[in-house]
Amino acid sequence: MSDMHVHPEVVTSHEVHSDEHHVHHHKETFITKYIFSQDHKTIGKQFLITGIVWAIVGGFFSVLFRLQLGYPNETFPILETLFGKWGAGGHITPEFYYALVTMHGTILVFFVLTAGLSGTFANLLIPLQIGARDMASPFLNMLSYWFFFLASCVMVSSFFISTGPAAGGWTVYPPLSALGQASQGSKLGMDLWIVSMALFVVSSLLGGLNYISTILNMRTKGMSMTRLPLTIWALFFTAVLGVLSFPVLFSGLILLLFDRNLGTSFYLSDIVVAGQVLPNEGGSAILFQHLFWFLGHPEVYIILLPAMGMVSEVLSINSRKPIFGYMAMLGSLFAIAILAFLVWAHHMFVTGLNPFLGSVFVLLTLLIAVPSAIKVFNWLTTLWRGNIRFTPAMLFAIGFVSLFISGGLTGIFLGNSTIDIHLHDTVFVVAHFHIVMGVASMFGMFAGVYHWFPKMFGRFLNNTLGYVHFWITLAGAYLIFWPMHYEGLAGVPRRYMDKSSWVSFNQFTELNKFVTVVAMIVFAAQLLFVFNFFYSIFKGRKVRSQNPWGANTLEWTTPVRPGHGNWEGEIPEVHRWPYDYGKDGRDFIPQTEAVGANESKH
C-alpha cells in the first residue's frame, strides 16, 4: 500500500467539516479531484453518471422504436422535425428503426449494464468493503474510465454520420455487418462500432484486472476470502468472466474489421450482394457467432452477477437476518461462472450446428439452472422470519428476485433445443432476456444506487420518489414484457418493425399499442429517478450517522464523506463474516467487532 494518498492536512480538514459540502483537499485541483481523479470512489461515480446518461439515451431509443411497433401506420411529424431524413414523412424509416434497435441493445448491454453497473460498484465497493485505501493500481483504474469515455465518444460520433450508426443488431452478425453494400448501417457506422467496442474491451480489461488483483491482494487484516461480503464475490467472478471472455470478442471483431477493410475472408464465402459477385471463398459466417457468443453468453452473467451480489447484501441487511447459505451462494456463483463459458452455443441451435453438439449444450445449459434455483431458494429463506424494512433498495431487491424467477423459468424453454426450434429469434426471446437480464439487472443496479447513495454523496435519495419509481417500474416491467411471451409463442419474429402484412403475426395490434403506452410511462418514471438522483446529490437529506442502515460491512466504518484513502486512521481489522444480523439477540454485529467469549457459533 505504498501508493497511499492520505496527507495529514486532508485528515484534519475532514474532522473539521466532515458534514460540510465537499471537503477541499489541499493539493488537489478541480481537474485531479473530479476529472482525472484516481480515487476509486470518484471513478465509480464517473462510471455511474456516464451510465445514467447512456441509459437515458438507450431508453429513449426504445421509446422511439416502440412508437413504430405500436403505431406502425400513424405519422408523427415531430419525428421529421427532430431527425430529418431518418423520420421522413413522420415515419421511422427502416434504416432508422434498425439503427435504433441496434444502438439500444449495444448501449444498454455494454455501456449501461456492464460499465455503468460493474464499473460503478466494483470501483465503489471493492476497496471500501475489503478494507483497502484504493485499487491496486489507481492509475490504470482511471484509464479504465477514460477508455470507456473514449469508446462512448466514438459510438456517439457514429450517430452523426450520413449513413448512420451500425444497424445489424447488437450481435452484428456478418456477412450483414461485413458488407457495406448489404445495408447502410454496415458502412462507416459499423467501423466506428467496432472501434468503439475495441476501446470498450480495453476499458473493461483494465478495470477487471484491477478488481481481481485488488480483491486477491489488498484485503485488510482478518478479511479472509470467506469473510468477504457476497457483493465482492460477485464482482470478483464478474471480473474473471470479463477478463477471460472479452479478448475473444476483441479478436472476433478485429477479424471482422479485416474482412471489411482488408479483403480477408474469415467470415465470407460464396456471396453475391446487390448484384455483385464477391471473390471471397472459404470463410465461415458461423465462426463469428462462436466467437461472439463466447463473450456474449458470459456477458449476460457479467451483467447479472453484480446485481445478484448487491441484492444478496441488501436483502440480508434489510431482513435483519444473515444471508441464508453463504457457502451455497458462493458455490453457486462459482458454478455459474464456470458454466457461463460452456453454454454459448445455445444461441446457435438453428444455425446448422451439429445436432449432437447441440445436445451437449442443452445439457450444460439446463445444468446452469440448478445454481440459479439454489440462489432463489436461498433468497426466499433469507426473507423467511426476518424483520423486514422496505427501503427503496429493499423493494428493488425483492423485485429483482421476482423478475429473476420469471425470466429464469423461460430460459428453461429456450435452453431446450426442441422448443428453441420454434421460439428462437421470436419475441419470446426478447421477453425472456429483458426480464432476466435487462430489467432484473436494472433492479439490482437501482437497489445498489438507493442503498449506497448515502456512501457516495453523504445524502439520501428522496424516499417517496424512490417508492413511486419502484412501483411504476415493477408493474410496468411486467405489463410490457409478460404479454410479449404470447407474441413469441405465436412465432412473431423479433426485429420486425411492422407485422400488419403478415397473416400469421397481425393479431396483436391492440397489444402492441398497449405495450408502447406502458413503455412511455415507465420511461418517464426513470426520468423521475434521474431527477431524484441529481437533485439529491446537492439537496438531498443529509446523512447524519455513520451507519444509516445498521450494516456490518466495512464501508460503514468510514467517515460519512470519506476522503481519498477512505479511513482516517488505521484500516480496521476484521474479526467475523459480514452477516451477523440478529445473532444472540443483537440487531447487528459489525465485522470489526471481535468475537465474544460466550458468542454462539453458526
Binding site: 434498425y98 458488407l179 448489404a182 445495408s183 465470407l268 460464396d270 456471396i271 453475391v272 450482394v273 448484384g275 459466417a285 431482513s319 437476518k321 444473515p322 441464508f324 447459505g325 451455497a328 438453428v350 444455425t351 446448422g352 445439457l363 439454489i374 431458494f377 426466499l380 429463506t381 426473507l383 423467511w384 422470519r385 424483520n387 423486514i388 422496505f390 423493494l395 425483492i398 421476482s402 424467477i405 428453461i412 424453454f413 431446450n416 426442441t418 422448443i419 426450434i421 420454434h422 424516499n463 420518489l465 417508492y467 411486467y478 405489463l479 409478460w482 409463442l489 405465436a490 419474429p493 420486425y496 407485422k499 403478415w502 397489444l511 418517464a524 423521475l528 440478529g582 445473532k583 453458526h602
Partner: protein
C-alpha cells in the same frame, strides 16, 4: 401542438410528484422519522401483497385474452412433438413460478418489520439446501431427457421417400428449386451450382452449372408459393446468397438458418393441406408463411414467402405447368437435348451408386 401538450402535462405531473415527495420529507421530520418510516413500511408491505394478488389476476386475464391467438394446432409431425414438449414445460415452470412468487411476496408481507418480532438467526441448513439442489436437478433431467429424445428425432436423417426442395434466401426474397426426376427410382437430383455463375440477366438466378446434366430438368420457382405434398416428408436444402437469413415456418414449428457458403437442411412432414387449415382456422385468408427470422437488413420485416400444401395430384398438375430453368436460360438449345442427355447420364449414376 399535441406534442407540446403532452410535454406540458408530463412536466406538470413531474412537478406535482416532486412537490409531494419533498413535502413528505418535511412531514417525516416533523412527525418523527421513525414513526413515519414504520407507517411507510406497512404501506409497502401491503402493496407487495396486493401486487401479488393483482399480478396473479393479471396473469390469468392476460392468458384469457391471448391464449386464442397463439400456436393453434401444429401442421407437421414435428410440430406435434414440439408443442407437447412446450406444454409440458409450461406446466412445470408455471407451478414453480406460482410457488416461488407466492412465497416471495407472502414472506415479504408476513415478515415485515414489527416491534414484536425479532429476526430469526438462521444462517444455513445443509439438508434444506441439498433438497433444493436435488429437486431442480431431477426435474431438469426429465425435461432434458424428453427434449433430447425429440431433438434427435427431428434433426435426424430424413426418411428415404422424402421429397427435396431447395430454398435460397437473398435480400429480401425467397427462391425455390425442385430437382425434377432425373435420379434413380424417379427421385430428382439437384444439378451443381457455383455462386459465381449467378446472373439474373442470363436467367441463372441460382448459379446452376449448365454443363451438369443433372441441371437439365431442375425447376426454378420464384415469385409464387412453394408447393408441398401433404403427408409426404420434405427435406429443405437451405442456402443464402448474400447475408444470413432464416427459414421460419411457424405453422410447422420449424426453423433453420440460411447461411451463405454453408448449406443447411431440415425436414418435416406437412400433415394438413392449406385448404384444411383454412377450414380449421375459419380464416379464409389463411396461408402458410415463410418468415425470415434472422436480421438481414432493412427489408427483413417484409421477407415473406408462402407455401401451399396440397394433394399429390394437385402438386403434379402444378408441376406440369413448369419448365426447367435450363430451357429458359438456354433457349437456343434443342429442347429435346435435355431429357436425352439425362438418359445418358442415368446409367452412369446408377453404376456409381
Amino acid at each position: 401542438m399535441q406534442a407540446f401538450f403532452i410535454v406540458a402535462i408530463l412536466l406538470l405531473a413531474f412537478l406535482i410528484i416532486f412537490q409531494i415527495a419533498k413535502a413528505s420529507e418535511y412531514v417525516a421530520v416533523l412527525r418523527g422519522e421513525d414513526k413515519v418510516r414504520k407507517q411507510t413500511n406497512k404501506i409497502n408491505g401491503f402493496m407487495l401483497l396486493s401486487f401479488l394478488v393483482l399480478g396473479l389476476v393479471g396473469v390469468f386475464y392476460c392468458n384469457e385474452q391471448l391464449k386464442g391467438r397463439i400456436l393453434g394446432t401444429p401442421a407437421s409431425d414435428h410440430g406435434v412433438l414440439i408443442d407437447r414438449m412446450l406444454y409440458i414445460t409450461i406446466a412445470i415452470t408455471f407451478i414453480v413460478f406460482l410457488i416461488t412468487q407466492v412465497l416471495l411476496f407472502w414472506f415479504s408481507y408476513k415478515y415485515q418489520e414489527s416491534d414484536n418480532r425479532k429476526a430469526f438467526y438462521y444462517p444455513h441448513n445443509n439438508k434444506l439446501e441439498l433438497i433444493w439442489t436435488v429437486i431442480p436437478a431431477i426435474t431438469l433431467t426429465v425435461l432434458v431427457g424428453f427434449g433430447l429424445f425429440y431433438w434427435f428425432g427431428i434433426t435426424g436423417n430424413a426418411p428415404k421417400n422424402a421429397m427435396e426442395v431447395e430454398i435460397v434466401g437473398s435480400q429480401f426474397k425467397w427462391e425455390f428449386r425442385y430437382p425434377g426426376h432425373d435420379g434413380p427410382d424417379g427421385k430428382g437430383v439437384f444439378g451443381k451450382k457455383y455462386y459465381k455463375e449467378i446472373d439474373e440477366g442470363k436467367m441463372n438466378p441460382l448459379g446452376q452449372l449448365w454443363d451438369d446434366p443433372a441441371n437439365y430438368d431442375d425447376i426454378y420457382v420464384s415469385g409464387e408459393a412453394m408447393h408441398l405434398v401433404v403427408n409426404k416428408p420434405v427435406k429443405l436444402i437451405i442456402g443464402a446468397k448474400d447475408v444470413i437469413h432464416d427459414v421460419g415456418l411457424v405453422h410447422f414449428r420449424m426453423k433453420m438458418d440460411a447461411v451463405p457458403g454453408t448449406p443447411t437442411t431440415m425436414w418435416f412432414t406437412p400433415t394438413k393441406t392449406s385448404k384444411q387449415m383454412i377450414e380449421e382456422t375459419k380464416n379464409p385468408d389463411f396461408v402458410y408463411e415463410i418468415s425470415c427470422d434472422q436480421m438481414c437488413g432493412t427489408g427483413h420485416t417484409g421477407m415473406r414467402g408462402t407455401i401451399i400444401v396440397e394433394t399429390q395430384e394437385e402438386f403434379d398438375a402444378w408441376m406440369a405447368t413448369k419448365k426447367p430453368q435450363y430451357l429458359v436460360a438456354n433457349p437456343g438449345k434443342d429442347t429435346k437435348a435435355a431429357p436425352q442427355d439425362t438418359s445418358v447420364v442415368k446409367p452412369v449414376a446408377a453404376i456409381i451408386k
